[in-house]
Symmetry: C2
Subunit: 512 residues, 2 copies
């Protein structure tokens, strides 16, 4: 092993306190949700939705546009007629029960694990947006440069555990795009990357790059989840070739697959929430069962993206009350199957403004109080997923950091009850200078990244720079301060060689 | 009884749908929180905080700057030495247990009741801010005109049940300010007004105006709560003359008193959350006990305002993770006493921007999932309470409407599970035109007031008007469309005569 590159691990001067803060040295902030998940429905009602899903699977079935997947289903005891697979309820549930309740994902470095399941939460950045935007340069098709900047900023915040694919770098040809994207993610961050289901070749390329980056042998790789993928069913009740292939490929590779039906209530799912949830549940079960046929115990996650459309325009709406209800209920449905749950941070706003903030908060509270174990689109999502926004990214980091702080347990004991301190201060006094305060004040409260708590006079004197404008500066200051995390020189060379070779070979046969 | 004034009750054209919407005819939207309150602490930990509060009351006591109050306390079994009242735990808790667990407040009109307690929530507007602001005219000292505009807008939204005092109308002399403010509130709205504790005379004036507006006799008034007041203890552990007088006056008048300690952790309360809560609990119990000595069964509410200060500047911080934890815990402490709980919607932002939105959301979620029964400052609060903002008011109304929708129960049955509809649509179809959708789409989903769900192209074509700018327009459009709710002509004349007479008499002897 050669000497690691030195970049990244040196301390840096914090903008706030002037003290040295070794940002990249600290492990990320593990999230353990201390609250009992909120229930949208009674246990009986959840059972009714679950049973409705099984009836849908048995009587209506799922259209499966992949010969291999249909063959796998029938071999496991399902029936297939004219591409429609119908599911025996008992066999199906037995298959789903093979999936683990908890999965540990490994980032690079020993302190970079994410436990998915139970009360644990892994937070991902946004992904899949065609565009990128910031308030100074406006909105433009995604580029590799914009993706790299998101990687840099993501690496710098310890509330981010997993990297979403951010924007589509449309300046890179599709056949080699997955190679360039993965190279950016594994060299600029240490966090758990996302792998698109864009055909077996592209998935295999990404897995190989991750195997190299982690220094694993092929057998080790299959037993160590280091990335995650999302399979979206084509709601209502279809699984297309690409998604089936992805489910099969990731199960074989032992990597985490999140099955997320795209059940927009009123469009691709019933206008009623229980109906949309029954359909979501049916589709999730169908996809997860396929993964377990391929490899019993393959790591999976129950995905929910149920929201509603604006019935006036048909446009999808996000961060709505319906979205929150669906998130609460989806947590219950996932726990009913003893599976981890994925939800998302979302908004339909076109600007990184107050609407973006309150819709994002609604979805975050829905997801996290609903018991989500993976939060997708945790930072950067704007415009219903059509844009990754620099300012929204920083706003979201602030909101996520507040949740991380909220999740910190509070101890009740004689010292924290502070009766002696209260007696010392007496009636009408203040606690500023007391020993009880001085011993604790540095870490007692959340210290914000973006929020400005100065008074109105200072705020206006400094030019009335609002939260969105401040977020712009923080985004680029953070990107510019980034240094790549260390990677063994031989792994880095092997990665670069692999990308060069695959590029010379013409990249992958991409299906979208 | 003469003919009611006709203003207000005619239908108006909705901006959105073109249909006639009889806004002022509909009763307000009753809020019943369907979710089990979130617990911050175990039951044992809550018991420990409760016991710490009783120890504080017994051993340290409360400084009471009012002779009459001290006399009342001692007559009830407490001891008073040099203005310090020390509380016998058992007697104190017995007194608190006399307070009702639920109170019904009456607005004008039979459909204008607010139940406070259990799972019910009453939402108030903001109050007590010296300034008013909008984005076009900036920030200025409050005027009666600005207060009137807030009244008009408040009347128009059915998620607002109670009127906070909004801004201080600094263009009105203090001796008659309470008369003018109350006249605005009772003539421009039908909602439950707030009464300041600014001395016995001013309180009596306000009560008398409300007695007239409701057409009640003196004895009826005392048995029908039609307004609410807040007594803030002077933390730590003091009750000043004005607050003691207010507690006594409102208990005698049978009107709702919310006892809210102003326990900013790190400043007027310990830096540790359990300590701040123990002190809050002690102060709340002390004030509530006084009300029950005056009149057993007097309607009260347990108030929480525990937040933290920015330890760098000493400035109060709002909508923080600490605030949320305090709200969750305060709900538990109030329920421990079998009392309704008050919390608030807050932010420290200087602008109606993204920070204002996410801090407000944090406080709303903390309050409402914590089981708050009265939400103070539900709309309009900005700058840590130094300004009432037009735009923030509308942003808050949107957030409140989303919560009202979230609280609507969802039925699970064969119809809502929609299996037949799913079978009809089949694999890969859509639900837009189905009967199942058409029968429900008009009321299926929340329809926003402020949020813009149009696509980016339409949004930019219309000038990229962000949420704050849209909120400005909605505020003044709504104020301009307002017509006063009806009031019997003789009551109106009696009110006006009363205000004229009291003004001629020199108003009230105001203490602040």
């Amino acid at each position: 092993m050669k000497t690691p590159r030195t970049g990244g691990r040196r301390g840096r001067v914090s903008r706030r306190t002037g003290t040295i803060e070794k940002r990249f040295d600290k492990a990320w902030r593990r999230w353990v949700n201390p609250y009992t998940p909120v229930k949208q429905f009674s246990d009986d009602e959840i059972e009714a939705i679950h049973n409705a899903a099984l009836r849908i699977l048995r009587d209506i079935g799922v259209k499966v546009l992949c010969d291999e997947a249909r063959a796998l289903y029938t071999r496991a005891g399902m029936t297939a007629v004219d591409e429609i697979v119908r599911f025996d309820p008992e066999t199906t549930i037995e298959l789903v029960r093979l999936a683990p309740a908890e999965v540990t994902l490994h980032g690079r470095g020993d302190d970079r694990e994410v436990v998915v399941g139970g009360a644990n939460v892994g937070v991902c950045t946004t992904g899949g947006t065609p565009n990128f935007s910031d308030i100074k340069n406006g909105r433009a098709p995604g580029t590799l440069k914009s993706l790299d900047n998101f990687c840099r900023v993501s690496q710098s915040f310890d509330v981010i555990h997993m990297i979403g694919p951010f924007v589509e770098p449309q300046d890179i040809p599709t056949n080699i795009r997955h190679l360039e994207m993965m190279k950016s993610v594994v060299t600029l961050t240490e966090k758990v990357p996302f792998v698109y289901f864009r055909g077996t070749e592209a998935v295999a390329d990404c897995h190989e790059m991750l195997r190299i980056a982690h220094g694993l042998g092929p057998e080790e790789f299959v037993n160590k989840p280091v990335c995650y993928s999302v399979a979206n069913s084509n709601s209502p009740l279809m699984l297309d070739l690409l998604m089936c292939r992805g489910i099969i490929d990731s199960a074989q590779a032992g990597q985490l697959m999140i099955l997320t039906p795209f059940t927009l209530s009123g469009a691709m799912a019933p206008v009623t929430l229980p109906g949309a949830l029954a359909q979501q549940h049916a589709e999730a079960i169908a996809g997860i069962a396929l993964s377990q046929i391929v490899r019993p115990g393959a790591p999976v996650c129950y995905g929910s993206f149920t929201s509603n459309v604006d019935m006036k325009s048909g446009a999808p709406a996000f961060g709505t009350p319906e979205y929150v209800k669906a998130a609460f209920a989806s947590g219950q449905l996932a726990r009913h199957l003893n599976l981890p749950m994925r939800s998302s941070g979302v908004t339909g706003s076109n600007a990184p403004d107050a609407q973006a903030a309150y819709e994002m908060e609604m979805s975050l509270w829905g997801a996290l109080m609903g018991g989500a174990n993976i939060l997708l689109h945790g930072a950067g999502w704007l415009e219903g997923g059509l844009t990754a926004s620099a300012e929204k990214f920083i706003m979201d980091i602030e909101m996520l950091q507040m949740f991380a702080e909220l999740f910190k347990p509070v101890e009740v004991n004689e010292e924290t009850l502070g009766i002696a301190a209260i007696a010392d201060v007496g009636h009408g006094g203040h606690f500023f200078g007391t020993r009880h305060t001085l011993e604790r004040f540095e870490t007692a409260f959340y210290s914000p990244l973006l929020s400005d708590w100065s008074n109105f006079e200072n705020y206006t004197e400094r030019g009335s720079v609002d939260a969105t404008m401040r977020a712009y500066s923080i985004f680029y200051d953070t990107a510019n301060a980034h240094e790549p995390p260390p990677m063994d020189q031989d792994r880095l060379e092997e990665l670069e060689d692999f990308v060069s070779r695959r590029t010379r070979e013409g990249g992958a046969n991409i299906e979208r």
